[in-house]
């Protein structure tokens, strides 16, 4: 009987331990796990938060000059998102799951918590607001984009397919980013399936996610590699017959035009394929690949919104002359985004340094005006030296002055640029232009692509010129 009572006591002690552990675990949960739970990304499954978020008036999105681009209004007690200038900003601003349950993208997705005013409140205050059920307002987002530049880029590209990106090379601020064809996000709820399944892929942000062969604008990288690894190539001269035969394969210049004997500079101005194939072959695959990698051509560019990973084939491994020749002139299997090409040009404009691009300038409290979050410029890549950057800049000035890019000229301003006409299997070549101005002290870098547009000099360069001109004119006004 004594043993029995002892055993019963032991069992009771076990129960005491079990029940104390329940209390301890619950307390631990409320102290540590709870906060993680409420702020985790899984909170999308927490209907309490979704309910609460419906009560928050979503913050506005503004351009760098304070023009409203997106705002929320209440119509008959229901919150509605209104996009001003909807088509020009559609892909950059994107849409939010809070409004269109099916999904979210762009700035609306990245800065969702900020727009809901959730960044500076701890879960405790947050939940107190849940209880009080007060109508709150989210924080406002100021973008780096300039609506004027965005609009001019959009209207110049209207009716075409393509993209344009403008960046401040010194800071990495994205000044404009358009993608066409576009759609009207104000009608997203009514036309969701139609917009999502459109054959033109209107929701795709071609500026950051469109992958294109770079064509001749890639010669900036070939030239950079030559000046860095084989500087004596700069003083060589080349004989262009209008075509080159590499290992029995004939690669033609644009429309088979023979440039005759020309030096490095002229080869760049006129975008001579024969000369650049010669340069590429002398440079070697590993040098060219190294330089391309330094420009980020095998990586995914970091940005506030989704970007596609650039593709650069492993030519050093293959040791195939034909592939090396094609790659030297930007053909072959290279695929890049227009944003990547803007950054390539910005390296030349910014003494060799590529600044990390960004779209969010500030997050501000709409009531007090306090800055809650701020992006600051930071270095992203440094592919070339200052000296090489200066030399390439001279080459790019020459392109606009007397080469293929003359239609980008602006009276009184020195524009530097490079055209590209990228052959592709889908019809007419893609027209490319990358450039910057003022060349002496660059403030804006522009990258433009028009899908199946024709030559870069005729089609893309004038659009870039318009964007740069608008930028300069507006600066003068201010």
């Amino acid at each position: 009987m004594n043993k029995l009572n002892r055993n019963i006591k032991i069992v009771f002690i076990i129960f005491s331990v079990l029940f104390s552990s329940l209390i301890i675990y619950l307390t631990y949960f409320q102290l540590y796990e709870r906060e993680k739970l409420i702020t985790s990304s899984y909170s999308v499954y927490n209907k309490r938060l979704i309910n609460q978020e419906r009560k928050i008036l979503r913050g506005s999105i503004l351009d760098r000059n304070g023009n409203i681009l997106a705002k929320s209004i209440i119509v008959d007690g229901i919150q509605k998102r209104e996009y001003i200038d909807p088509e020009a900003f559609a892909q950059v601003i994107g849409y939010s799951r809070r409004i269109y349950q099916q999904g979210s993208s762009g700035i609306e997705n990245t800065y969702d918590r900020q727009l809901l005013g959730m960044i500076n409140s701890d879960p405790m205050t947050y939940l107190r607001k849940v209880i009080l059920g007060k109508q709150q307002i989210g924080d406002n987002l100021i973008l780096t984009i300039d609506k004027k530049l965005q609009d001019i880029a959009y209207y110049d590209l209207k009716g075409k397919k393509g993209a344009a990106v403008a960046i401040n090379p010194k800071t990495g601020e994205v000044l404009a980013m358009v993608s066409l064809p576009s759609y009207n996000p104000n009608s997203l709820s009514e036309n969701w399936t139609q917009i999502m399944n459109s054959p033109d892929k209107v929701v795709l942000n071609r500026a950051t996610q469109g992958l294109y062969p770079p064509g001749s604008i890639f010669k900036i990288i070939t030239a950079s590699a030559a000046l860095t690894y084989k500087p004596d190539l700069y003083t060589k001269s080349f004989d262009c017959k209008g075509y080159t035969i590499v290992d029995g394969n004939r690669i033609e210049d644009y429309e088979g035009i023979a440039h005759g004997v020309l030096d490095f500079k002229k080869a760049f101005y006129l975008s001579c394929n024969s000369a650049f194939i010669d340069i590429g072959l002398k440079l070697g695959a590993s040098n060219l690949q190294n330089m391309a990698y330094k420009f980020g051509l095998n990586s995914q560019i970091p940005l506030d919104i989704d970007t596609a990973k650039n593709i650069f084939p492993d030519i050093a491994q293959k040791n195939d002359k034909v592939i090396l020749a094609e790659t030297s002139i930007g053909q072959g299997k290279i695929l890049v985004t227009p944003l990547t090409m803007a950054l390539m040009a910005s390296s030349v404009a910014n003494e060799g340094v590529i600044m990390k691009p960004y779209l969010m300038k500030y997050v501000i409290d709409p009531v007090s005006g306090t800055v809650l979050e701020k992006s600051s410029p930071s270095e992203y890549l440094n592919p070339i030296s200052k000296e090489v950057a200066y030399k390439i800049r001279e080459l790019m000035i020459g392109v606009v002055k007397e080469g293929t890019g003359t239609s980008a000229q602006i009276p009184g301003i020195t524009v530097a640029g490079k055209t590209g006409t990228a052959e592709n299997p889908h019809g007419k070549p893609h027209a490319w232009f990358v450039g910057f101005a003022p060349a002496e002290d660059p403030e804006i870098v522009v990258s433009v692509i028009v899908e199946n547009g024709g030559t870069g000099g005729e089609i893309a360069a004038p659009i870039a010129k318009d964007i740069i001109k608008t930028y300069i004119e507006n600066k003068a006004k201010r």
Binding site: N7, F15, F29, Q30, I38
Partner: protein
Amino acid sequence: MEDYLKDASKAMRYIFWIFFIAFMLLFIHNKPQGFNTIYFTLAFPVLIYIVYRIHIKLFPLGEIDFIILTSFLTEMGLIMIYRVAPDLLIKQIIWILAGFFVYFISSYVSKYYNILYKFKYSEILYLIITFILILSTLIFGREIGGAKNWLTFDGIYIQPAEAAKVIYIIFLAKYLSVKKQTKDIIILGIITILIVSIFAVEKDLGMAFLFYSTTLFLIFIGTSNLIYTSVGIITLVFGTLLSYFLFSHVRIRIQAWLNPWMDVPGKTYQIVQSLFAIGSGGFFGTGLGMGHPEYIPVVSTDFIFAAISEEFGLLGAISLILVYFVIIYRGTKVAIDSKNETGALIAIGLTSMFALQVFTIIGGVIKFIPLTGVTLPFVSYGGSSMVMSFVTLGMLNGISLKEAEDYEQVEPEY
């Protein structure tokens, strides 16, 4: 004695206050549908007051704590059930009434528990009844919420396993008080594994765990043999591992426990919603009527603890756990005070079953252990669980009464 009753009536007063305040709030928030709801709601405090008075009258030496604590627990259940499923309120009050009724009956029966074993081999009869009850659902049962553990008669749902819990303990206590040989324990082991296997086939993992663990505890208490106990523990571990690989529903439960985020919209939906509810409650709760316990699945039965945690917070949750702990303490006390081994084994057996059930469901909904669906005694909605929980406490009360009265009878001799 009188001080004791003073405290008891003070506790009852608090219980009435909580009830009136809570239901006034709830009726403002969630207007009662028809007068029936109001009548029944008002009937509840009257009911528990009458039960309280009768208990003092009939069993002056009885466990009045059981009445106070179950009044509190059933009242918390009613508050939460009205909150999340108002339609179930009246039914639950009727179940509580039935529960108190069987409490008194089982108190009298177990006071003379020797008559339960009057015939030779009567414990075998209880074992047979246990098997019949458990098997009945396998043959005639309906599958609800993933487990086949319900019988239905004209819209009334019954969980025979709830009754089997008590009857099995009556068998087990007698068996272990007379049979302690190795071969007896081996036979008991085989019986237990059979029972657990039937539950496993019915996908009723909670019950399988309760029966197994209670048997193990009682073997330890009855035999003091560490070898049997260790073999039992090892078998439990191996059995769990084996069923992890054999049964997909066991695997899902354990995976959901280890990583609740693996499939939130699907397999782990319940536990994640439970955690969200507990998390939004915090320390002090959102307050009654201010949370969203309706977002938790099966909230009126298995997950009612999560709902209480949300609206009453950590403090409410801990107080509930402590109330259960006091019941377990009283149950253990009854077992220790019992002079008769069978009586002690019945008492500690019922207490163990009760304690393990509370631990299993609370531990499950807070993700301390893998989730298995058992009810939270006295709080969850449901008749079978409510009635059998009252039988459990009634029997403990009866055994306690027997000891107290035996003691009083021998007292004059000193």
